[in-house]
Symmetry: C2
Subunit: 129 residues, 2 copies
DNA sequence: TATTCAATGCAACTTTGTTGCGATATATTT
DNA sequence: AAATATATCGCAACAAAGTTGCATTGAATA
């Protein structure tokens, strides 16, 4: 099972133009295996002995994964970024319920965004993160 | 005009059981005078020479103001707390549009919360901050 | 005006994240 | 398979936002 996430992670990373390093594969597979967004520290805790890496490298890998849209990051009330693997088939044309306590993001498919709503002048929607 | 906010701030603070110090009055009046949420640094910048105070004190005053519900604080993507004076007459039974770029919070009175919506089990609404 | 204890200022500390740079490892070429 | 180029990594130092402990000050009450 962990093996599958490993494979999936490597496949996703090889689709980018950048290098498929073992750090990137390990970290993305950890995110893929998880149902919720993880902090830097939570990811560190899930790395095995053999996968140990410098904290700076972890920050940089996470930033890279986010930039490549393989994951997205969530700002929470505790000033800590949380990362969650991106589901590429996930269409974002509906509202999200983001719990600021447990950081879980739940899709509210029933609540359609009202694009005709009266938003303040000068505010446009942009891609999340 | 600034004078009025001073008076209003002092009145609000005297309604609590704690002490009405000049720091608390100055800082709350700065928040009252503003239409948007302010960071610690932005508040510092708005203090006159005579109102200078230690940064720790500012953190503590803001925390106190928040605890007394005279203001609420907003977590933003830049990991910085923003504070905004609370309008006591403001009923929070409608959705908010919180811009993560400029931190402005706009009330979407048109969008009623659907309390019958199918939320995930175990999620209940709580008071914001 | 004197008294009391909450509020303040200062120094030191913590947490989260960033930057610069030489060393290492990945992908490509030979 | 070995050599090469350069992206990635590890280490050290740094930065920003916020917190804690403790001695001093000042707002409210007697």
């Amino acid at each position: 099972m962990s093996r599958n996430f490993q494979k999936k992670a490597e496949e996703m990373i090889r689709h980018t133009d950048d290098r498929a390093t073992s750090n990137r594969i390990h970290i993305l597979s950890i995110l893929l295996a998880e149902q919720q967004a993880l902090t830097h520290r939570e990811i560190e805790a899930r790395l095995s002995m053999k996968q140990q890496l410098d904290r700076v490298t972890l920050y940089r890998v996470l930033e890279w994964i986010n930039n490549k849209n393989l994951a997205y990051k969530i700002a929470s009330d505790d000033r800590v970024w949380r990362f969650r693997a991106n589901m590429p088939t996930h269409a974002h044309q509906h509202a999200h319920f983001e719990c600021t306590c447990c950081t879980k993001v739940i899709c509210l498919d029933d609540l359609k965004l009202e694009f005709n709503m009266h938003y303040p002048l000068g505010i446009y929607f942009k891609k999340l993160n």
